[in-house]
C-alpha cells in the first residue's frame, strides 16, 4: 500500500487557518467576559513603594485593581518549583513588593472592556524604591559560578577529555577568539494570552496559548491548590511559541487569580512590549574558543569557555557549550559554562537552546581555522568527522552528516567557490559563500494516544499535544492513517485538550518522536483489534482466517491467501455492537539513550550579497541538507526546516534585544526596533534531506526537525560575510556598522 507517511499532504488545518476559522486562545469570547491588563514595573530592581489605584478605581468600567496589597492567596510559593519539570520557572504573582526585573507584573486591572482596562492600567500610579540593577556580563563576572547542570538535557556544567594544554602544544596552528551572541526574544506573532473561567471554587478552565497544556495544568493546579483533574487546559491552536510558551509564566496564574477575585471569566493578553521580560529570552552568550590543529587540519585540541546570564531568581542556563563537546573528533577537549546572575526577566528555552549560539561560535571558529590552514572549510570538517559521540562515548543513533555535506555542496555549487575573500565580486556587490554544520539532539518523552473506530466508519484519534505551527494535526493524521491502514482523509485527529491522553510539551523537537510514536502504536493496536474481531465474526467474509493472513490497506481488510475475500472498514464498523472500539497506548522510550547518542545533523550553505559601499547584507540563497530521521510530511517538513533557516539569518543579521545598562530595561521592546526578517530580507531557500530512518530513537524512525534549521545557519551566513568582505565579525548581529 502507498504509505501516507512522507507524502506532501496539504495541512489538514489549512482551511481553518486561511479562513480565520482557527480559534486562538484570546478568541474565546465567553458570556460575562472581563478584560485584564497587567501593569508592569518600569524599574529593574528595587521595591514597589506604593501603588495609588484610586484614580484607576474611579474610572468607568473598572472592576478590580489587584496589587501585592490585595493579598491574593496561593497554595504554595511561586518559587517552589517541581524538580521533575524542567519547564517550570519561578513566577512573580503579586506576593510581595520586590521588583526583580523591568517588565515584572506589579498590578492587574480588570474591567468591563479592554479599553477601560487599558485606561485603568495607565491610571494606576506606581512609585518605586529603585536600586541599581546589573544587567551586563562584565558587571557581574566576579560572581560567576559554574552550575552543576545545564538546562535542557541536564548535561554537566563542565566537560573534559584528554589534555587540552598538551593538545595545544602539539598544534602547528592555534586559534583563540571570543564570540558573542546577544539577548534575543522569541516574539511569536501571537502574544501570550489566557482566558480563565472558574466553575465553582474548585474547578478551573483555561484557554491558554501554551506549548504544554499538561505542564500548565500541573503548575496552575499546584499553585492554586486545585486537584489536577479539576483543571482543564485547552489550546487547539497556538500562534507560534519557539520556546516562549513552554513554561507557564506569571500572567497565566494572574489571569486565573483575577478570575477567582472577580468571579467572572477573565481574558488577559500581553501587549507586545510585555513580551520583553516576563516570558523568557535567550541569554547573551560569550564563548571563548581555542583550537589547535596539525598542518593537515587534524584537530589536536578544542576548548570553549562560555559565560551566560541567568536571572537573580531562577537557574536557567543556556547550554551553549554542548556542540563543542560533540561535533568533532578531537582527543583533547574541554568546556566550562559560567553563569552570572543579572536583574533581568529570566532566560529560558528559545529555539535550539544551546545549539543555536553554540554552533555559531564553533562553526565560525572552524572557518577561521580553515583560512589559517589555507584549507577548504568543508575539507576541514570532513577531516575531523566524529564517527561516534566522543563526549558521551557512544555510537550515534544514526549519522548522515557526510551525505548532508555532499548533497548540500553539490546543490549549492560549493566546488565553484574561489576561497580568497572578496574574490567573487559582482560589480558593486561583494559575494560570499559560507558553510556551517547543523546539529540537534533527538529527544523523546513518554506520551499517550487514543485511536477509535466509530460505528459510522469514522476514525478519531486524540492526543493532548499542541499545534504550534509544526504541522502536528497533519503529521499525526498521516501517522495514524498509516498505522491503521486507511486513507488520511478518513482520520480526524484532535489535540490541545487536557481531557485527551497526556503528551509532553511541544518543545525540544520531540513531538513526532514522542506523540507520533504513541499515535502510531495506538493506531497499530486499533488495527490489530479490528483484525482479531473480524476473523472471529461469523458475519464477516474474513471469518476463520488467521490474523496474520489479513492485509489492511486503503480501508479494506482482505485475506492474503484468498484475494477476493475482503471487507471494507465501513462495513466492519457498521456491524459493531457497541458505539465504538478503541485502543489507548502509553508509549515511552526504552534504554536506547543508554546505548546510543541520538542526534540529527545537517549542512548549511549560504550566499550573501554585500553592498561594497554601504555594507548592507542580503542572504540571497541558502541550501540546507539535513539527516533528521524519517520525514513524515515532505511539505510541512520543508517549511519547518526553512523556518529554522530564516531564524538563522535573523540570528546572524538582525536580532538583538538591547539593554540600557544603567536602567536595566530593554530599549527596543517592540517589533519595529527588535528586528526580525521581513519578506524582502529573505532570498531563496532550498531544503533537502537524506533518506534516513533512525529506528534506534523510536518506532517510526523520526527524530524531530523543529529546531535544527537554526543551528549552523547563523555561522554559514557569518562565514559568507567574511568570504565576501574579508571582515570577520565575531559579535552578532552583523549590522552594517561592523562592516564599514
Amino acid at each position: 500500500m502507498p504509505s501516507a507517511i512522507g507524502e506532501p499532504l496539504d495541512r489538514v488545518d489549512g482551511r481553518a487557518k486561511v479562513t480565520g476559522g482557527a480559534v486562538y486562545s484570546a478568541e474565546n469570547n465567553l458570556p460575562g467576559m472581563t478584560y485584564a491588563v497587567m501593569v508592569t514595573s518600569t524599574i529593574a530592581k528595587g521595591r514597589v513603594a506604593s501603588i495609588d489605584s484610586a484614580a484607576a478605581r474611579r474610572a468607568p468600567g473598572i472592576i478590580a485593581v489587584l496589587t501585592h496589597e490585595s493579598k491574593l492567596k496561593l497554595a504554595k510559593s511561586p518559587d517552589d518549583i517541581s524538580p521533575d519539570s524542567a519547564a517550570d520557572r519561578r513566577l512573580q504573582l503579586l506576593q510581595n513588593d520586590r521588583v526583580l526585573y523591568a517588565g515584572q507584573p506589579v498590578a492587574v486591572v480588570v474591567a468591563e472592556t479592554l479599553e477601560a482596562a487599558q485606561e485603568g492600567a495607565r491610571l494606576a500610579q506606581v512609585r518605586y524604591g529603585p536600586e541599581t540593577p546589573s544587567v551586563s556580563v562584565d558587571a557581574s563576572l566576579a560572581g560567576a559560578f559554574i552550575p552543576e547542570r545545564l538546562s535542557g538535557a541536564g548535561d554537566p556544567g563542565r566537560s573534559s577529555r584528554g589534555d587540552v594544554q598538551a593538545g595545544m602544544s602539539q598544534a602547528s596552528t592555534r586559534l583563540e577568539q571570543v564570540y558573542t551572541t546577544p539577548f534575543q526574544v522569541h516574539n511569536p506573532m501571537e502574544p501570550h494570552a489566557t482566558v480563565a473561567v472558574w466553575d465553582g471554587p474548585d474547578g478551573l478552565t483555561l484557554y491558554d496559548a501554551t506549548q504544554g497544556i499538561f505542564g500548565a495544568r500541573k503548575r496552575v493546579a499546584g499553585l492554586l491548590g486545585l486537584a489536577v483533574e479539576n483543571v482543564r487546559v485547552l489550546s487547539p491552536y497556538v500562534g507560534g511559541g519557539f520556546g516562549s510558551k513552554g513554561p507557564t509564566w506569571s500572567h497565566v496564574l494572574l489571569c486565573a487569580m483575577a478570575a477567582r477575585e472577580v468571579r467572572r471569566p477573565v481574558k488577559l493578553v500581553l501587549a507586545r512590549p510585555q513580551m520583553f521580560g516576563p516570558i523568557g529570552c535567550r541569554s547573551e552568550t560569550r564563548q571563548s574558543i581555542a583550537i589547535g590543529a596539525k598542518p593537515d587540519g587534524t584537530l589536536t585540541a578544542l576548548k570553549n569557555d562560555v559565560v551566560t546570564h541567568t536571572s537573580s531568581f531562577d537557574d536557567f542556563v543556556e547550554p551553549a557549550s554542548t556542540p563543542t563537546r560533540k561535533l568533532y573528533s578531537v582527543p583533547n577537549n574541554s568546556t566550562t559554562q559560567r553563569v552570572v546572575r543579572s536583574d533581568i526577566g529570566t532566560p529560558s528555552y528559545m529555539r535550539a537552546p544551546g545549539e543555536a549560539p553554540g554552533t555559531f561560535a564553533l562553526e565560525v571558529a572552524m572557518d577561521e581555522l580553515a583560512y589559517a590552514l589555507t584549507m577548504d572549510p568543508l575539507a576541514l570538517r570532513l577531516k575531523n568527522y566524529a564517527e561516534q559521540d566522543e563526549d558521551g562515548q557512544k555510537p550515534w543513533s544514526a549519522k548522515s552528516l557526510r551525505e548532508c555535506y555532499r548533497m548540500g555542496a553539490e546543490r549549492f555549487g560549493w566546488a565553484k567557490r574561489s576561497p580568497e575573500p572578496g574574490s567573487m565580486r559582482d560589480g558593486h556587490t561583494l559575494i560570499g559563500w559560507g558553510l556551517g554544520t547543523a546539529m540537534y539532539p533527538a529527544r523523546r518523552s513518554p506520551a499517550s494516544a487514543r485511536a477509535r473506530l466509530n460505528r459510522d466508519g469514522s476514525i478519531q484519534v486524540e492526543a493532548g499535544t499542541q499545534e504550534i505551527g509544526g504541522g502536528t494535526y497533519t503529521t499525526m493524521t498521516q501517522i495514524a492513517a498509516d498505522g491503521i491502514g486507511v486513507e488520511p482523509s478518513r482520520v480526524i485527529f484532535r489535540l490541545g485538550d487536557t481531557q485527551f491522553p497526556p503528551t509532553p510539551v511541544s518543545g525540544g523537537s520531540m513531538t513526532t518522536a514522542s506523540t507520533g510514536s504513541a499515535v502510531y502504536l495506538a493506531a497499530r493496536a486499533l488495527r490489530d483489534t479490528i483484525i482479531q474481531r473480524a476473523v472471529v465474526d461469523r458475519n464477516s467474509l474474513l471469518y476463520g482466517a488467521k490474523p496474520a493472513q489479513i492485509a489492511f490497506e486503503n480501508g479494506r481488510l482482505s485475506r492474503s491467501d484468498r484475494p477476493g475475500q475482503m471487507e471494507t472498514i465501513q462495513h466492519f464498523a457498521a456491524g459493531l455492537g457497541e458505539p465504538y472500539i478503541e485502543a489507548i497506548v502509553n508509549a515511552a522510550p526504552g534504554q536506547e539513550k543508554e546505548e546510543f547518542s541520538p542526534m540529527s545533523f545537517g549542512a548549511q550553505f549560504a550566499e550573501v550579497r554585500v553592498d561594497a559601499d554601504l555594507g548592507q547584507v542580503f542572504v540571497s540563497r541558502m541550501v540546507g541538507a539535513f539527516g533528521a530521521g524519517r520525514i513524515i510530511n515532505a511539505k510541512t517538513a520543508r517549511s519547518n526546516f526553512m523556518g529554522g533557516m530564516v531564524w538563522g539569518v535573523s540570528f546572524a543579521l538582525y536580532e538583538h534585544a538591547v539593554y540600557d545598562e544603567r536602567l536595566g530595561r530593554i530599549v527596543n521592546n517592540n517589533l519595529a526596533e527588535y528586528h526580525v526578517p521581513v519578506n524582502a530580507d529573505i532570498g531563496d531557500i532550498d531544503v533537502i534531506w537524506v533518506d534516513e530512518a533512525d529506528h534506534h530513537v523510536d518506532p517510526i524512525g523520526a527524530k524531530g526537525i523543529g529546531e535544527i534549521g537554526i543551528t549552523g545557519s547563523a555561522a554559514a551566513v557569518a562565514n559568507a560575510v567574511f568570504h565576501a568582505t574579508g571582515k570577520r565579525v565575531r559579535d552578532l548581529p552583523i549590522t552594517l556598522d561592523k562592516l564599514l
Binding site: D10, R11, G14, R15, A16, K17, V18, T19, G20, G21, A22, Y24, A26, E27, N29, T42, I43, P60, T113, E115, A116, E119, L123, Q125, V126, Y128, P130, T132, P188, M189, E190, P191, Y237, V238, G239, G240, F242, R272, E467, G469, G470, K635, T636, S639, M642, G643, M645, W647, R662, L663, N670, L671, A672, V676, P677, V678, N679, A680, I682, D684
Partner: protein
C-alpha cells in the same frame, strides 16, 4: 548621573495620565460600518480600534492582534479594497466604510484563490499572521491591477514586507502570490 536618581526621576513622572481627559463610558458615538457585506449599527466607545471592534465586539476574530502598533501587519483588513492596519485605525473613523476581513474573502464556501494558494504552497505554519498576509496580498493585487509592468518576485517581497511571519514562511508566501498573480494575468 547616578542610576538610582535617574530611576527615581522616571518614577516621579509617572502620573502623566491624570492630566489627560478620561473618556467616560457615556461618551459613545453612533456609527454604521459594513463588514463582509453586513451592515452593523454600532454605538462605540471612541477609544475602540477597528481591530478590537472586529475581535471583541463583532467576534470576527480572523484579523489578529500581533503588536497593536502597526508594526507587524497581523491585523491587516481591506477598507474599500485598500489594505489597512486595523489596529491603527479607530473604529469611529470608519463610519460608512466597507470593510472586508479574512472571513469575507471566501464566497459561498469557495476559497478565494489566495486562500487556496496559501494552502497549496504552505504559506504559513502557526497560522497567526496568515489572515493578515492574505488580506495584504489581496490588497497588493488590487494595487497593481491593470498595470502594464509585471509583478516580479522582488516586488512581491517588497510589497509584502509590512506583514511579519515569525515562522519564516516567506518564500512560500511569495510562491502562493505568484501562483495567483499568474492566474489573474493569464
Amino acid at each position: 548621573m547616578n542610576v538610582a536618581s535617574l530611576s527615581a526621576g522616571i518614577a516621579a513622572t509617572v502620573p502623566l495620565a491624570e492630566a489627560q481627559t478620561v473618556p467616560s463610558a457615556s461618551e459613545i458615538v453612533d456609527c454604521a460600518i459594513t463588514v463582509n457585506g453586513r451592515e452593523y449599527a454600532l454605538t462605540l466607545d471612541p477609544r475602540i480600534t477597528l481591530l478590537d471592534l472586529l475581535r471583541e465586539r463583532l467576534h470576527l476574530t480572523g484579523a489578529k492582534k500581533g503588536c497593536d502598533h502597526g508594526q507587524c501587519g497581523a491585523c491587516t483588513v481591506l477598507s474599500g479594497g485598500t489594505r489597512i492596519n486595523s489596529c491603527l485605525s479607530l473604529a469611529v473613523t470608519h463610519n460608512g466604510d466597507f470593510i472586508t476581513t479574512i472571513e469575507g474573502l471566501a464566497r459561498n464556501g469557495d476559497l478565494h484563490p489566495l486562500q487556496a494558494a496559501f494552502i497549496e504552497h504552505d504559506g504559513f505554519q502557526c497560522g497567526y499572521c496568515t489572515p493578515g498576509q492574505i488580506c495584504s496580498a489581496a490588497g497588493l493585487l488590487n494595487e497593481v491591477r491593470g498595470r502594464a509592468k509585471p509583478l516580479d518576485d522582488a516586488e512581491i517581497r517588497e510589497r509584502m514586507s509590512g506583514n511579519i511571519c515569525r515562522c519564516g514562511a516567506y518564500p512560500n508566501i511569495v510562491a502562493a502570490i505568484k501562483a495567483v498573480r499568474g492566474r489573474v494575468a493569464g
